[in-house]
């Protein structure tokens, strides 16, 4: 079994978000970066579990510049066998998908796994684009994944529903909560990660489809209106008459 896991670099979840260069760029100053939680906790860990039970290899791929090495090493410490970094700073989701698809095409992976979305752009479109570029089946929002011969048995969680389905490999899967439990790298993993191979490849194009023109922060909330626990009725009245939410 040959698995490719796509990992993205995102700011740590506690980051206070701000922008620079006239609000056109995310301010990376003093920001801690992590592997996108959906990629790490679910896609990567499930891939490692499959490798442990069924044999095979897990390769991680990241599209990004040299400073992404830190998150790539973390993935290797968790147990990935090797890594690929496409050496370009991707400007949009299309670039990421295009580069990953181009790399993956001749490699014939059985499964290409990603997280359901990144926590910085929240688009959730890279996996679907890779699937289309490679003409592979695609299952999004997968919360469970098991191998059954040449097929995968998948559970999906979608708006108030659980769906089970069967998909033939090779295929592309977007992972969400439920698929696996997050792991912490152990000492052996960390030591081994230092010598695992990271292949650096050049990007195939610089074509982009979407430009992020500017960013803004949400307006500050006004002060909260507090009610006493003895006047809960007044809160209900305010919600009804003032906020008009019911």
């Amino acid at each position: 079994m040959k698995i490719l896991v796509c990992i993205s670099k995102v700011p740590d979840t506690t980051t206070k978000i701000s922008f620079t260069d006239n609000n056109s760029k995310f301010n990376e100053d003093k920001v801690q970066f992590i592997i996108n939680p959906y990629d790490e906790w679910y896609a990567l860990v499930r891939a490692l579990e499959l490798k442990e039970t069924l044999d095979g290899t897990v390769t991680v791929i990241n599209v990004g510049k040299a400073d992404n090495e830190q998150i790539i090493r973390k993935a290797l410490a968790l147990g990935a066998d090797d890594a690929v970094r496409v050496d370009t700073d991707p400007a949009d989701a299309f670039t990421v998908a295009n580069e990953i698809a181009a790399y993956a095409k001749p490699e014939n992976y059985d499964i290409i796994l990603t997280g359901k979305e990144t926590i910085n752009y929240n688009s959730g479109v890279v996996a679907g684009m890779i699937a289309e570029l490679l003409d592979l089946p695609y299952v999004s929002l997968a919360s469970k994944l098991d191998v059954d011969g040449n097929n995968l048995k998948i559970e999906r969680e979608i708006e108030g529903m659980k769906e089970t389905l069967k998909v033939a490999m090779p295929c592309v899967i977007g992972a969400q909560k439920g698929m696996a439990e997050a792991r912490i790298p152990n000492m052996r993993g960390i030591l081994a990660s230092k010598t695992k191979p990271v292949k650096i490849i050049a990007p195939i194009t610089n074509e982009i489809h979407v430009q992020s023109v500017s960013f803004s922060l949400p307006p500050e909330k006004g002060a909260v209106k507090l009610f006493s626990p003895d006047n809960v009725k007044d809160l209900a009245e305010a919600l009804h008459n003032e906020a008009k939410v019911f």
């Binding site: 979840t13 922008f19 939680p37 299309f94 998908a97 926590i119 910085n120 752009y121 929240n122 688009s123 959730g124 479109v125 890279v126 996996a127 679907g128 684009m129 699937a131 289309e132 570029l133 089946p137 695609y138 299952v139 999004s140 929002l141 969680e157 708006e159 108030g160 529903m161 659980k162 769906e163 089970t164 389905l165 069967k166 033939a168 909560k177 982009i208 489809h209 979407v210 992020s212 023109v213 960013f215 803004s216 922060l217 949400p218 909330k221 006004g222 909260v224 209106k225 507090l226 009610f227 626990p229 809960v232 009725k233 809160l235 209900a236 009245e237 919600l239 906020a243 939410v245 019911f246």
Partner: protein
């Protein structure tokens, strides 16, 4: 030409379909062009005509009982063909599970820019989209002539008229390899409740509720408000509540009109997924809980005392 995908569920239009139809019709009007809709699978009698209520004049209907579930290849092929046949340069879908699955394929097929999860009509060429899980907004501009847009649920309120649309059946060329998977089962998770991403009122509980046996007060409040229930991440992780109720940066992002948070501290990761709610009510016994800074209304008090009183007060207002 603008083409909008109107999704059906059990033969009825989904709530998100009315939102995207109204959005697409408005977008077309602003661009001085027309808007048509495409629907896939069986529709109940009179249902597709209702898209006229949102400003759509014509609906193309791929009426095929093999297509009553979403298959990403088949659906994206049909929508792309409809766009080509009608010279559409803009395709609009919902940013729900279906839209997220098929829009990327359509964008690649059309060599179009994909603008995912936009929340309003464009300002000039710029579309706004929330990023950093609700902590910021980005303005996105397409670098191509054709675009595929997915609209965030609960972002655009349709103003309904009594107009009706005409429906035209279309033939589709679908073969076995367009069904990329076989759906083997479906199970409803929250019987009788609106799914979280579409819910207009959400009542949510955190670790402050002490244990799953105490959820009745949350459920009672949700019931009088016709709301959907949600929870914080640790509550789902310990198994007090099902995973699909987990909201926040690593759960579901929601945008209801009213979000009531009970016994939730308001950690930055929780706020990220809920802070686009139009009105936030916080009930917490700790006056220093960070959630109060993000709230519109609040009560500093014991949930077990306050919540039943609130349920009762709302019941009274509703019945008067």
């Amino acid at each position: 030409m603008v083409l909008v995908f109107a999704e059906l569920g059990n033969g009825n239009l989904k709530k998100t379909s009315l939102e995207v139809a109204a959005y697409a019709a408005e977008l077309a009007k602003n661009k001085n062009t027309e808007c048509i809709a495409v629907a896939i699978g069986n529709a109940n009698a009179g249902e597709l005509e209702k898209l006229g209520n949102c400003g759509i004049k014509k609906v193309l209907h791929a009426d095929d009982d093999k297509l009553n579930s979403v298959y990403s290849k088949a659906y994206s092929k049909i929508i792309t063909e409809a766009a080509k046949n009608n010279n559409a340069d803009t395709v609009v879908l919902s940013h729900n599970s279906t839209g997220k699955t098929i829009a990327p394929r359509i964008a690649i097929k059309m060599n179009a820019a994909l603008l995912p999860g936009v929340s309003s009509l464009p300002d000039g060429n710029n579309f706004s989209k929330t990023v950093f899980s609700g902590k910021a907004t980005a303005q996105l501009a397409a670098k191509t002539n054709t675009v595929v847009i997915t609209l965030n649920p609960n972002s655009f309120k349709p103003h309904l008229t009594s107009d009706t649309a005409s429906v035209e059946k279309i033939n589709v060329s679908i073969d076995a390899k367009d069904f990329d998977y076989e759906i083997t089962g479906t199970e409803k998770e929250s019987e009788g409740m609106v799914p979280l991403p579409e819910a207009e009122i959400v009542v949510s509980g955190g670790r402050g509720l002490k244990g799953p046996e105490n959820w009745a007060i949350v459920e009672d409040l949700a019931k009088v408000l016709n709301a959907t229930t949600a929870c914080s991440r640790p509550v789902a992780d310990i198994g007090w509540r099902p995973h699909h109720e987990h909201v926040g940066q690593t759960g579901i992002t929601i945008k209801p009109n009213l979000y009531i948070a009970i016994g939730i501290s308001g950690a930055i990761q929780h706020l990220a997924g809920v802070n686009q709610s139009k009105c936030i009510v916080v009930i917490n016994k700790d006056p220093e809980a960070p959630f109060f800074k993000a709230a519109d209304y609040g009560i500093v008090g014991d949930a077990f005392d306050v919540v039943p009183k609130l349920t009762e007060a709302i019941k009274q207002i509703k019945s008067s």
